[in-house]
Amino acid sequence: MTETKLLRKESLGPLLQRLRQGGRRIVAPCQAGQTNTVWFREVDGDEQIDLERFTVASAKSVVFPIVEEILKFKTIGRQVTIQNGTPRVESTVVVGLRPCDARGLEVLDAVFLGEPQDLFFRKRREATTLITLSCSKADENCFCTSVGGGPGDTRGSDLLLTPVQDDRFLVEVLTPKGAQIVEVGAELFEAVEADATQVPNKERFLASVPVRFSLSDVEAKLPRLFDREEFWHEQSLACLGCSTCAFVCPACSCFDIQDEGALHGGRRLRCWDSCGQKLFTLHASGHNPRSIQSQRWRQRIMHKFSYLPDRSRITPDAAGRPGVFGCVGCGRCSRACPAGMNIIERLTAIAEAEL
């Protein structure tokens, strides 16, 4: 379903206010304290929202929190009782995420909604509506168009807002969830005349994001590059193994399970983790299948650009789409890397490697 509306930029605040009054939680990009950086967080007033700058981390924590309580336990003597964790699932609207972020959630869907489903993820996902903002500017780290996306890509979003005039968004209503939002603020939205010439051409207002490398070359070459130790050593020389890249990534889904215990009870937690960490694969015996950082960097790349697409062709994701890559081209890892590693450079080197 795609229906098109117009929304005055000044009407976005009142729309969110009304959604909030209707009991929905609003999560939006906001400057974090005095850091001069922008992060997603719950907002209670619209003045805090920053729709101009890119967020440091993606919006994935709305559906995949950094720490999720999966169960509680009580121990009394030798008796143990377990209580299922119940996620604080509130109807949530994420506003101001980008088309790449929305596609990132689809990558997570392939993992968590594949059988057997992760109930916590599913509940949060079902309760979340995405009001995505098209990109009218991009920076040198953006490469959505190299991995199948684009600055005005509608995939994964419920509503897509594209700034088409100084004072208006073009609104694409993409799903029933999106239609519900429009219903809540009905009179704030302006109809677009059925006459097609009245519909602003959104492409004109989108950022230009050049294709930086050939994704099919990356995927085709990776299996044959696997054994080239020197190549991976060179690729990852700067890598500190800090996993910042995984934490800001909209598509990284690896996790750990840890207990937080006390004498008489405690809870079991599902926490973000990363294949960049040495402990991620360390066996109890002391043997580590990925004992050095270059092997862990290779895993990061192989998983996103070879294993996931390869695997999802065998086992299609929840929506039945084949070939899910674990990267949406947001460029956050490059922006956040404390050692200045640039993902476009690395992927270009892979795509252009001599075999």
């Binding site: 169960l71 143990v80 299922n84 399970i257 009870g265 983790d273 294949c275 694969t281 015996s285 990925r290």
Partner: protein
Amino acid sequence: MSVQNGNNVYQPYLMRIERAIDEAPGIRTFRLRFEDEEAGANFRFKAGQFGEYSVFGEGESTFCIASSPTRTGYVECTFRRVGRVTSALAALDEGDVIGFRGPYGNTFPIEEWTGKNLLFIAGGIALPPLRCVIWNALDLRENFGDVSIIYGARSVEDLVYKAELEEWGRRDDVRLTTTVDPGGETPDWKGEVGFVPHILEKVNPSSENTIALVCGPPIMIKLTLPVLAKLGFSPGDTFTTLENRMKCGIGKCGRCNVGKYYVCVDGPVFTLEQLQNMPPEY
């Protein structure tokens, strides 16, 4: 795939430790009964599958199910005390309650082996995954040809399942060879002295109509495989289990990913033929 309790895939069964056996220094076996009798009655698994065992407050650890699927109502696990969770497990005793999720993973295709000879080769703490298959086969003894077991440990006291080794040794329908590393023997040791690959060469089993199952430390496997090849075992008829670190057990957490496979759902049982087509990250 069993999903329990309100579809929370991470929720374990509560299991009471019915029996605790000290097998060897640092190694214990637990027999676990389901607290929920109905769950216990309905619980089914197959040889090769594993579970996530937990001490509440300490966390979960991954071990195979060491008992045979032919023996129902309980599961057994054997583990070495090596980290946080296994230390906490080792400190428990009969009557205590732990968590168990499973069964997870694929299985040994034992029903395809009817009429075949089975050769089991294990080292140290890696006998438990094969013990499951051994009892499964012995409980259906008429389905199989010769059953041979070669089992080695560092020393006599490091051998696990000592009572069962004795029982297998007494049976005339099992050919058992036990060995300890040089220096690990005691004055009254009647078994072999030497490393598993050498003893395999010495036993010189026929590969004809025979399935080989190998579990052991990486170095043992590495040195045993060439001997098996020399004896004529094909990579498709040579099975092992991978022991990659795991957390979720259900193909989500990413930890046991090797190539396009997740050991927890595509394994832990692999043929040598499959391993030869995987990156060596195990």
